[in-house]
Amino acid sequence: MRRTLSLLLIALFMLAPLAAAHAQTRGRRRAAPKAAPKPKMPTSNQPASNADAAAGKPANVLEPSQSPLVSVRLLFMTGTASDPAGKEGVASLTAALLAQGGSRTMTYGQIVEAFYPMAAGFGWQADKEMTAFSGTTHVDNLEKYYAIVRDMLLDPGFREDDFARVKSDAVNFLKVSLRQGNDEELGKEYLYNIIYAGHPYAHHNMGTVSSLERLTLDDVRGFYRQNYTQGNLVIGLAGGYPADFPARVESDFARLPSGGPAPKRFAQPTVAPGMRIEIIQRETRATAISLGFPIPVTRAHKDWPALALVASYLGQHRSSVSHLYQRLREARGLNYGDYAYVEYFPRGMFQFTPSPNLGRSSQIFQIWIRPVEPQNAHFALRATLFEYDKLIREGMKQEDFAGIRDFLTKYSNVLTSTQGARLGYALDSRYYGTPEYTSFMRESLSRLTLADVNRAIRQYLKTDRMRVVMVTKDAAALRDAIVKGTPSPITYNSPKPADILAEDKIIETYKVGVRPEQVVIVPVDRVFQ
């Protein structure tokens, strides 16, 4: 909240996957409230799509409207969890090369040139089970734009120089931007890795530095051949496209190999019992903290709305209304913000709303504590666990429940406020088998009771498999303090109310239930290596 200038330039220097894909990264602008209701027009929807997918043909999600803009989202139901062992990163490199490389008939330089007067682009995003390509163009330019992106995906150039560039971008993203330029994203991305240790989700979507360095253009060709099939494709179109456009797209993309592996669903990870804390040692001013563990609840699960409500209460992303923010930042001035999630939420530093098309068969519960001063790191960890444990013990109160339910009901309109976002959410609804997102949220939230929410808290929120990542300069001292349970009193620059001081007394010796051998130090150059 309340930030200064230059977020965009900072985002720019994080580069690679961030720069590639997301309209939401545009500076301070948050997605905005919902526009006019869509005109009622025939759409092909889920049942038809599923039947098509089963038949090994492309499925589609169509959202026609009168808008002079056309949004295109081509979603392949494959992703980084399908990276073969030893070839981590090949799914992302393939997507990057398709979206940021030439087609057989045009070099990438020529493509950039052609997009330029249209103010168009073609973004990519590769996650565990989904790879999305997206762009928006004015309908006047649709034919020209589509012809280019169609060839990029169907008739890729696979040139060595494009490959060398996107590969070097990927390596630098991991080695420089993430390891050495953004402790918060570093901590979160590493947390995602260790939560899924031993699972196909375990590596960073961009791969590892060592695997990337080994990857060849032939690896990319192979991944493309095997995974970019008709059966894996869902065509998403929204806006004022001509009536015959969807059929043309379908017919064009029928050139992809037919059939193909049915969309894979991945099992829940097996997490070794007990809390584990990994401390990344890095030369840095502050200490970033992230905590989390896997949950079996996705949007497809009946308890998802309840858990989404809990996360919003505990730490609605970038909002000052939520509980952790109030206790850690507003009352104590510990840091800049504190948030909680029930879904994977990458690039949170740059976005107010999550990107769509990150559908997964396994999700996570996650808490993000923004960097604190190193002398307060132990206290901040304890304070977070204190609040978390208290939530599990006491549950939510009726008045908090009602307020957050109202907020979330209206907020779903904000999330789907633009045509591109609505299309993205529609594709995700197809993946999860849920109704249109805003009505899904409105209806499920209206049925939800406080008892449901408190039962979900007791059922899913646990501490015994919590994974914690901290990024700090003096990792040894922090490890030592945590292992020994050294008291971590906090001092303030101004008098505090008695209730805060009393709570601090409890927090400063609050037990972090972790065995000494489960607190380990990781040199930063080993992360994503």
Partner: protein, 464 residues
């Protein structure tokens, strides 16, 4: 323009939504900003701009205060405008922070604020039926802000947390050093975040914060922008009711002029952590004016010379692959600021080469005329890019806010785009000749400590 150009031309994000462009506005014509709008001035100096749109049910309320880090003229007070923005969330006479949060929560509102060199902007988007309650709460904090010294000190720690979280990124430091090297007297010499030493002293500045509020949080500095499902009459009635008795102030910051730069300057930052070398080449550039051909020419030049389809980008990023980030930044600001080109260089040995290529690009355009087709394509791109970004009430208000802070009217955008239409290749060449002179240049480099890169400048302190 900063956000638009960077977003559209540099990040090359897929932009969304042009729907309102043709649906909403009357008199589309050749205007860039096609929405009908009204301007109402209250006797106390407060201005209300109402932009009804056909995005239904929702309203974006932006309160734009023409004060930013530019106004921080006193030593030791850098970063104060931004810090003060934080304090605006700490309660007012009739609303505790908790009561305020509750109102915004019930409204399902998205609310936030930001500060730059020239402005502080408070914004919220919510259902139209909540407009009165939110206007009332907003008016209270602008006129009757109230917080304790204890709250003040606690918030100062959160601001320090904001500095800390940014500090891992080398760009933050580059920006800081560029400004203090390029500007010697003007307040653009410090960042909006401010110097660390000033941030650390903020807890001691309670009395000054009260003074700051008295000086700048005044109707003559403030414009209210209401965009969405609203009528002029409704917005005006509420503005008169809740903001009408706000008292005009008298203070004007005496912002020093920056003397002409007479020698090229350099600075180098040794960075404690491993990183790729960063390079920034900046020239002193003009302040915003919607009728200035020079400014319009530099805007177009920025995209033609350094955008993704520029020869330099294609050479350094795509062909030679010596650079993985290349971006130009030229803001529209109240006072003359910088035209800057940033690059991240993959190989430390190539920093000198990359610097030479950037300088050559500036130099070449002092004599060569840019291609007319490229100029036209750039104008098309800017127009599309702007229009495609205006895809919601919030986006429209957000795009207006910088220009409201500068000129207090959306018309400035139309005038600016009219000026773009008049720019010729010769105008671009002339502007390049006038501004891209060696003696008005500053180059800042950053590299891992101990790393020998070409083009080292005067060494400044390292990583914080």
């Amino acid at each position: 323009m900063r956000y638009l150009i960077l977003a559209a031309l540099v990040l090359s994000v897929p932009l969304l939504g042009i729907a309102q462009q043709t649906r909403g506005g009357s008199n589309s014509g050749s205007k860039l900003f096609t929405y009908p709008y009204t301007i109402d001035d209250l006797p106390n100096g407060l201005r209300l701009i109402t932009v009804p749109t056909d995005y239904p049910n929702l309203v974006a309320l932006y309160t734009v205060v023409a004060v930013g880090s530019r106004n921080e003229v006193e030593a030791g007070k850098s970063g104060f405008a931004h810090f003060f923005e934080h304090m605006m969330f700490r309660g007012s006479e009739n609303y505790t922070p908790e009561q305020r949060e509750e109102i915004f929560k019930r409204a399902g509102a998205e609310t936030n604020a930001y500060t730059t060199d020239d402005r502080t902007v408070y914004h919220a988007t919510f259902s139209k039926e909540d407009l009165e309650e939110i206007m009332k709460a907003e008016a209270d904090r602008f006129q009757r802000l109230k917080y304790t010294p204890e709250q003040f000190k606690t918030e100062a720690k959160a601001v320090k947390g904001e500095y800390d979280k940014n500090s891992a990124n080398p760009f933050s430091k580059m920006n800081e050093v560029m400004r203090e090297t390029a500007f010697k007297r003007h307040t653009y010499s410090h960042t909006t975040m401010g110097y660390l030493k000033d941030i650390e002293d903020m807890p001691n500045q309670y009395d000054y914060s009260l003074e700051f509020f008295k000086r700048f949080y005044r109707p003559e500095y403030t414009t209210i922008v209401v965009v969405g499902d609203v009528t002029r009459q409704r917005a005006l009635d509420l503005t008169k009711r809740y903001w009408g008795s706000w008292q005009r102030g008298t203070y004007k910051a005496d912002i020093p002029d920056e003397p002409e730069q007479k020698e090229s300057r350099t600075a180098h930052i040794p960075w404690d952590a491993p990183t790729l070398p960063h390079l920034a080449v900046a020239f002193r550039a003009p302040k915003f004016s919607d009728t200035s051909k020079e400014l319009a020419a530099l805007d177009l030049f920025q995209s033609v010379a350094f955008g993704e389809n520029s020869e330099l980008y294609q050479q350094l990023v795509l062909k030679e692959q010596k650079v993985d980030v290349l971006a130009a930044d030229f803001g529209h600001q109240a006072d003359p600021e910088l035209f800057t080109v940033y690059a991240r260089v993959k190989d430390p040995a190539q920093v000198g080469y990359v610097r030479e290529q950037i300088l050559k690009t500036f130099e070449r355009h002092k004599t060569e005329l840019i291609d007319q087709a490229k100029l036209d394509a750039t104008r098309s791109r800017m127009r599309y890019g702007f229009a495609m970004g205006m895809n919601s009430n919030n986006a429209i208000a957000g795009a207006l806010a910088p220009y409201i802070a500068l000129e207090r009217t959306p018309e400035t955008l139309n005038r600016l785009f009219d000026t773009y239409q008049t720019v010729t290749a010769a105008d671009v060449r002339d502007a390049a000749r006038k501004y891209f002179r060696d003696e008005s240049r500053t180059i800042v480099t950053l590299a891992t400590k101990g790393q020998n890169i070409a083009a080292l400048g005067r060494t400044v302190e390292g990583q914080n």
